[in-house]
């Protein structure tokens, strides 16, 4: 390279690096977008967080309640999200085409009301559990359902009553496999065991959490029998 061009190239590199660092910093900066839904805030985990913060602020002399705190946070977060959206707009192309998207909301709050995925089949009128997340014996299709990517999907489907089409699609996929692996079964059901995580004191005292079954989805298997056995365990 020509010695005369070297400083020019260096200068251009410096400018590009500055743009790169500004672009990724703006996008990575905390943003509430995606979490600005009052209906999502009704989740008991989110409500528990607001209650805990309300009590903490009240301890510091604030006289409001949880509802007022939620209104204030929602108002501020909405305004902030608008500003953030304006700031990142000039760099949208860079995020989209160069793989520099930034979203680092990792374990920002513990899920106090988690869900555990379960699959049952019905044989001769009796329901039998064939898969349960993290269970040592109910392991049908575990190689797929325990994969970290499916854990992520199941976390979403168990957290909110959204993603209905995807959840039903998963049900159909599992029904196809079940029809082959359990020729005597006439139905399959997907559902989530939802419970409040026991406190350490409750664990030590042997208190079992109260389970609430959510999102039951039952599919008929009688018309699906007759395919090839799947790779999953029975």
């Amino acid at each position: 390279m020509s010695e005369r061009l070297k400083p020019v190239l260096r200068g251009l590199t410096t400018v590009f690096l500055a743009i790169h660092l500004i672009a990724i910093s703006i996008l990575a900066f905390p943003s509430p977008s995606g979490g600005l839904s009052r209906s999502d805030w009704r989740n008991p985990t989110v409500q528990g967080e607001f209650q805990a913060w309300t009590e903490r602020l009240q301890g510091l002399g604030w006289s409001g309640n949880s509802e007022e705190l939620q209104d204030s946070v929602f108002g501020f977060a909405s305004a902030y999200a608008d500003v953030h959206a304006q700031l990142k707009r000039p760099f949208d192309w860079y995020y989209r085409y160069c793989g520099t998207y930034q979203s680092w909301r990792m374990f920002i709050a513990p899920h106090r009301h988690p869900s555990r995925f379960q699959i049952r089949i019905r044989q001769e009128g009796e329901w039998r559990v064939v898969y349960q997340a993290r269970h040592a014996e109910h392991r049908w299709q575990a190689s797929v359902l325990d994969h970290d990517r499916m854990r992520s999907a199941l976390f979403r489907y168990g957290w909110l009553n959204r993603y209905r089409r995807s959840y039903k699609g998963l049900g159909s996929w599992l029904a196809q496999k079940a029809a082959v692996d359990f020729p005597g079964a006439d139905a399959i059901q997907l559902r989530f065991a939802n419970y409040r995580t026991p406190t350490p004191e409750e664990v030590v005292a042997g208190v079992e959490p109260e389970i609430r079954w959510r999102r039951p989805y039952t599919l008929d298997l009688t018309e699906r029998h007759g395919g090839q056995p799947s790779r999953g365990n029975r």
């Binding site: 410096t14 990724i24 990575a28 900066f29 905390p30 979203s103 680092w104 199941l154 976390f155 350490p200």
Partner: protein
């Protein structure tokens, strides 16, 4: 001022850390995609519902569309392409073109936004950084073809290591400042990690035994939060180490106290604990790739030399010959 900054970021250094970054990134990609292929999850996760998957992918990615949609043949073909290109990246073939092609093909494979995590973003960012940085300057087939030996490196600019480290610190810091849960922030019960480790979604095994070790989880919660929100200091320490010759009391203290090494040690310990307690996919491995650039080639060589010398002395190789 600008000239001084320019001189600092463009100063030349050895390329071994970039080569290590490249190699660990390549192995992470083989793991991230290979595991989906060989556990049988690919046909469920990345194939369209009309072709045997469970989700409908309308216009998933321009390359997938062009190839005919998310059919098993297309998605398996793309997954194998990612594996092949990752091997090329590991070996250091094709310069910046290999990570660019990998970025395109991995983005085309990773079409199911429900089934993935932050590790996918970290991988894509790392691939773009591998496009920007001369990662094949040494320890590569490129170096072999250009200079006659894979180990015959050429100097690389210091900004390359700095922007990779900046990305890592940005990840940690922004996740730290978003941990506004009453269970994370000091002043509360510091029970965040206890409850997170009880979530069945990410557990490897039952963690209810932690109920008898609550102070330990509270300490870990506080340490994690403090470490994450103060990681900008790590960047400051990196800068101080790179400008040691300028002197100054504060700079000397930051170097003397090994602030940078403390951040590295705590960070690696954090990922080690994560590895044995939670299944978060390739997250620990892609993080490890970024850690490869924490030290310069000269520092790595000095440390490796000390280790070799210590081993030599311990095994008797360093004893003077008997008369």
């Amino acid at each position: 001022m600008i000239a001084r900054w320019q001189a600092w970021i463009h100063r030349a250094e050895g390329g071994a850390p970039l080569a290590l970054f490249r190699c660990v990134l390549a192995l992470t990609l083989v793991w991230a995609v290979g595991e989906v292929m060989f556990t049988g999850a690919l046909d469920l996760i990345w194939v369209d519902v009309n072709h045997g998957g469970y989700r409908r992918f309308a216009n998933p990615h321009a390359l997938v569309d062009w190839l005919g949609g998310a059919t098993p043949a297309v998605m398996w073909g793309l997954a194998w392409t990612v594996i092949g290109l990752s091997i090329g990246l590991f070996l250091g073939v094709g310069g910046r073109m290999t990570p660019l092609l990998l970025l395109i093909t991995f983005s085309a494979v990773d079409i199911n936004s429900h089934a993935g995590g932050s590790y996918d973003l970290m991988i894509k960012n790392a691939l773009w950084l591998a496009v920007l940085c001369p990662t094949t300057a040494t320890w590569s087939i490129d170096a072999w073809m250009l200079r006659g030996s894979p180990w015959a490196g050429r100097p690389v600019p210091a900004w390359a290591r700095a922007i990779i480290l900046f990305q890592l610190i940005l990840i940690y810091w922004t996740t730290g400042v978003q941990k506004v849960s009453a269970h994370w922030v000091p002043g509360g019960d510091l029970m965040a990690l206890y409850y997170i480790l009880q979530q069945p979604s990410w557990q490897i095994t039952d963690m209810s035994w932690l109920a008898r070790w609550v102070p330990l989880t509270q300490f870990a919660t506080f340490t994690t939060w403090l470490w994450e929100v103060t990681t900008p200091l790590w960047l400051v320490a990196h800068y101080c180490r790179g400008t040691a010759e300028r002197g100054g009391w504060l700079r000397r203290q930051i170097i003397r106290l090994e602030v940078r090494t403390w951040y590295v040690v705590v960070g690696l310990a954090f990922h080690l604990v994560l590895l044995v307690t939670m299944n978060v996919g390739p997250f620990p491995w892609i993080s490890l790739a970024y850690y490869m650039v924490c030290y310069s080639e000269e520092e790595l060589r000095t440390t490796a030399g000390r280790v070799v010398e210590a081993v030599r002395v311990r095994t008797g190789g360093g004893m003077p010959a008997r008369p």
